[in-house]
Structure formats: C-alpha cells, structure tokens
Subunit: 364 residues, 2 copies
C-alpha cells in the first residue's frame, strides 16, 4: 500500500483531458463517449473502446460538481433534514424513513447526499446557505416537521426538483405523506365500536400538518360515530398529566387517544401518569396511539402489550418519495405529485370495552 496516505503527494485526479491525451482524441470526444450520449451516436467503435480503456486505466470518475455546473445530472439525490438526520435523543424515530430512502435510491442506482447544514445550527432551522448547497444533487428530498418557506420557494422558482416527505399545505409542492386523517378517524371508529363514548384526544402544541391532520381525523371520526366532541381535544406539552388524568377519570372518560410525535412528549407524559395512578390498560382505561412509536418504546405502560392505533408507513414513504423525485427530475408529465399513503391499523391490545360506569379504577 505504500504510505500514500501520509504526506504522500496525492496524485491529481484524472480528468477528461487526461484521458483524451492518453487515448489520442479530443476532450470533447471523451465527454461524448463517457456520457454515452445518444446525440453523437456516431462514434467509431474503435475510438470508443480506446477512450473507455484509457478511462478505466486512469481510474476516471466524473466530477459531480463540474458536471452539475455544466448542467447535467450526476445520479445523486439529496436528503435535507430540518433537524439532525440521526438524532440522539429522539429514539431514532425517523430511522425507517432513511432506511426507505436509502433502499430505493440504491435500487435506482442513485447515491445519496446527506446535507448536514441543518443539524449544525442548533435551531434545527435550515440556514439558507446550507440549503442552497442541495443544488449539487440532481434533486432533493426534504424532511422535518418545521420547514422554512422562503429558501424552498427559491428552489422551486428555479425549477430545482424536490419532494417533501410529509404532507405540506403550500400549493404545488410535491410531497409524499401519510393519510393521518383517515387513519385517525378509523381509530375513533374502533373505539366507538368497542363502546367508548367519552374519549380524550391528547395532542401537543405543535402546528405541523401531521398534527393538524390527526386532529381533523379524530374530530371527523368522533362526529360520524356519535362520540362526544365537547372537551375531546386536549393540548399538552407533556407535563401536568397526573392532574388531567385524574379529572378525566372523574368525568367518566374511558379511553384516551394520543398523538405520537418526534418528541413523544404527550405519550411519555401520559404513560408516566398512568403508571403513577396504577392503572392497567385496557382494563381500566383504553388507549390508542396515532402513529406508532418506534422500537423499544412501543410498549404500553403497565402491560407489555403493543399500543393499538396505527403505524406510519415511514419506510414506504421514503421509498415512494425517491420514486417521485426521480420522476420529477426526468421531467415526466402527469405525475401525481401529492401523495398520501395509507397507514396500517394496529390492533395492539390496549383497547377493550369501557369499564362499567361508576367504577373508579383508582380505588381498587
């Protein structure tokens, strides 16, 4: 191996002109054969081969930056996350999305550029400079609950192809999201079918579309099943749940629905309150989670059962976003650019018929 690594003069990467010299042709010709361009189809097979050989021998690899400057594609897709791509503390909640993106990118022969600009600033907001860098890729996937509008607008205006992972409100923005509305409504329907009429829906203060959609679904589901809507929606930052839980029990609430976000604050707070009160699910209280938590945290408190509710098809969202982005890059017409994927219902065992009226689970 020689110690090429240390101080060893690094040999300059070969470029097309090097190949040209070796093969005895012009740089233009090199570019033509290397791109396998269909325009200058008429290349002598022998010339072609000579160029190919030289390129192989020199270990040529096209420079993606130069390629992009000259306005061509380079088989690289970007992924820009408006929060650390690999969060430490968030229990890897978004890992499956990354997995899906990587999987499909690989299947399509695309490399993936992870743009790290956003994670640097602790804010999680993408700073404009780092956002601009995404242009070295052929197109970019965006992802994160909170996203700055302006820089993205810029990209859109310039015709740079991109796709959001997660539904967006802005018109004309391509995205692949999850159908939280239907899935949430279905959960309420399930609760109603089990006999619950007085339910609480716990959501965080977050304003993201995914939260709004869940709430809409919950309300829609409640209305269509005759579940009480008064006092149904409760906002929390994850604290003060002990008191809330107590008041709910006083009011005869028999089931609680929680949204699962990246912070997991609401669910964590509720879980703690339930444990503290010594309640058992679903005997004392039915529980449903909108959007299944990932990994080890997917256990219901005091039971070991898996939460009832629905799964977010994160992996599939990642995959589909890659497919859509590729379509946009190739300029395909008539592609559906706003997609909602169905969420799989999960019958996890935390929903049961309501406890008999008048029975206070805390006195047992």
């Amino acid at each position: 191996m020689e110690n090429a690594q240390r101080g060893g003069r690094r040999r300059r990467r070969p470029r097309q002109s090097d190949i040209a010299r070796v093969a005895g042709v012009s740089q233009t010709t090199v570019s033509l054969v290397l791109r396998g361009t269909t325009i200058g189809m008429s290349l002598a097979a022998e010339t072609r081969q000579r160029v190919l050989d030289a390129a192989e021998r020199l270990g040529y690899v096209p420079d993606p930056v130069a390629t992009r400057l000259a306005a061509a594609g380079n088989a690289m897709l970007g992924l820009y996350t408006f929060s650390a791509t690999f969060p430490t503390d968030v229990a890897h909640s978004y890992y499956p999305i990354l997995a899906g993106v990587e999987e499909e990118a690989a299947a399509q022969g695309q490399d993936l550029i992870l743009f790290t600009g956003s994670s640097r600033s602790g804010t999680g907001a993408g700073d404009p400079a780092s956002l601009r860098r995404v242009r070295v890729a052929d197109g970019c996937l965006f992802f994160g609950r909170h996203v700055p509008d302006e820089p993205i607008r810029q990209l859109a205006e310039d015709g740079f192809p991109f796709v959001y992972i997660g539904r967006r409100n802005e018109p004309d923005v391509p995205y692949v999201g999850a159908d939280y509305v239907s899935a949430s409504a279905a959960v309420l329907a399930g609760l109603a079918a089990a006999g619950h009429r007085r339910v609480r829906y716990l959501r965080e203060h977050d304003q993201a579309p995914s939260s709004a959609d869940r709430e809409e679904g919950v309300l829609r589901g409640a209305r269509s099943t005759g579940t009480e809507t008064a006092g149904l929606v409760v906002r929390t930052d994850g604290t003060g749940l002990n008191g809330l839980l107590a008041s709910w029990l006083d009011d005869g609430v028999t089931a609680v629905v929680v949204e699962q976000t990246d912070t997991g604050a609401a669910l964590a707070g509720l879980g703690a309150a339930i444990e503290r009160a010594g309640l058992r699910c679903p005997r004392d209280l039915s529980l449903a989670v909108l959007g299944a938590p990932v990994g080890a945290r997917g256990r219901a408190p005091g039971g070991g059962a898996v939460f009832s509710g629905f799964d977010v098809p994160m992996r599939e969202m990642g995959r589909d976003a890659v497919r859509l982005l590729l379509r946009l890059i190739e300029g395909a017409e008539g592609v559906e650019t706003r997609r909602l994927l169905p969420c799989e219902p999960v019958d996890g065992g935390t929903i049961a018929p309501p406890r008999p009226p008048g029975r206070d689970p805390r006195r047992e």
Copy 2:
C-alpha cells in the same frame, strides 16, 4: 410558487456579472467584495457599498456549485458500507456509527455522500465500479466486516484519503476501531473475580478482525486469571445450541460469554436455548456479551436484565473516523492513523457467583 416544477420557464438568477454591470465595476471586484476576501482588503468603501447594494437589490445568491468548482474541493465526505447502509433485518446494529459520522461531519461543515453501490448487489461485496465512484468525495469512510482488498489498494496507491471504521490487518491502512482485546480480557477477569473457572466462549465462524480480537482477549483474560482454556472457545452458526448448552451444564460450566456480531446469530441461538431449558440468568448461569446489542434486543433472556459485558463505542468511532479522515485530506503530518477506542464495561446484572457445584439447574 408558480408551477416552476413542471416545465415552467424559469427566470435566470442574477450572477456576479449582473451585479457588476449595475454597480459599474468588474466581475472580479464583485467577487472580491462579496467574498469579503482578506487578500484584496483594499477596496474603496464606496465601491464596496455600491456592490453590496446592487447585490441586495438584485437578490443575488451565490451559486454553490460554481463556487465549489472554482474553489476545488467539494466539502463532501463519502461513506461506503459493505452491506446495506440501513439494514432491515439486522436490527439497525450499525445505526450509532452512522449517527456519529453524520454528527461529526455536520460539525465540520461537511456533507456526506452515502454510496449505495454495495447494497445494490445482494452480495454485500462492493463491485469495483461503484467503489471507484467514491472518488467524487474528498475522502471516504469504509465500513463493514468483510471488505474486498484490491479496489481499496488502488485507492490507496492513488493517494485517495480513506479511513476504515473497524480495525484492519493490512499494514498502513488508517482505521478507527474498538479495543476488543482489552475489553474482552476484562470481561473474563470479571467472571474470574466472581468465582467462575469453567467458562465457554461462543463465537461465530466469521473471520473478521473484530471476531479475532475478541477471541484473543478472551484467551488472554483466561490465562491471566487461571480460567480453564481447554474447551473454552466454541464456534457456532447459531444452531445446535440446545445440545451444546446441555453438555456444558453436564460439564459444570457456570458462565458463558458470547460475541455479538451484526447477525447476532450466536447470541440469538444461545438465548433461545437458555429460555428453552428454563434457565434463569444469572442464578443458574452467568452470561456476558462481548459488544452490546442495540435497542430492544439488549435484554437478557428470561430476566429483563441488561447483559453484562461491554459496549462498543460506535458513535465515537464514527465521530473519530471523520476527524481522522479530515486530517488525512488536509495532508496533516504525524497523525496517528491507527486508532483503537476503549470499550465501556457494562455491569448489567447477568453475572453472579457460580451456582454451587453439583446443583443442576435443570432439575428445579
């Protein structure tokens, strides 16, 4: 947003020459003031202002692609994994490494290219063509237990900077690994201190350096503590553990040490055998794992306790590999290019004093 995404004609973005025209200066001057370059410090304040104003008015935004081309070096680090980067089935075992890499890359202002070449071919072996692609990055991180030598050699010869994550045997190859030898020896010492003399070490057939190191550490630890070495090392592919376990108990074995690999075959097989035999750890049998499994699988069988053994500092390995790679890229002298990071011992509650001789846990 106009429908810029689909075929819409896009307005040309302003460039430096536009500013130059408006401000009545040369494009060079524009570049100078915009970069705030320290070299051409001597810019008339008035000129400077004029340029700044024009830039502001035109809404100028530098083109990152052009900037990079001109500046040489593209602030991209590669990560090439000799297996799917985001495995589905392997319980995300390597996730923390990715997290560390991403974290440090972000801190250093580097973007990350995930090369997907290796995952495409089901083989997990990187095909030479895809491997060559890594040259588009300024340098590359390699990762995976089994790695093809030849293409890497090529890269080294060309002076392309790279770093392995995980120890390598080849001389002169830069790496950041874990000190499995010391950590494994320490585990044996702990077992000996608890009173165990007859121990079995279960490893897979795998030949990777990380496996070899663990075995070496186990043997070293056994020798220095008077633990029996005869029959100590046992190889398995994860099957036939029921029989093996029975024979060990017959032989008076009181503790088992298992290596944890990416497949987890040995540990999974052993765990199943233990459960099947109805043994409880550590009462009936002490257990230690060399290299902690990740996430939900980190629970010991029949107990719920965390495994004793040690943690692999994956996140820190990722971070440190990025740092080292950056040093190599900048051509730093006298850098330690072969690093082993210490593994944190884990006292997880699966090690206890040996059961009394003659007590057969299976008859209780």
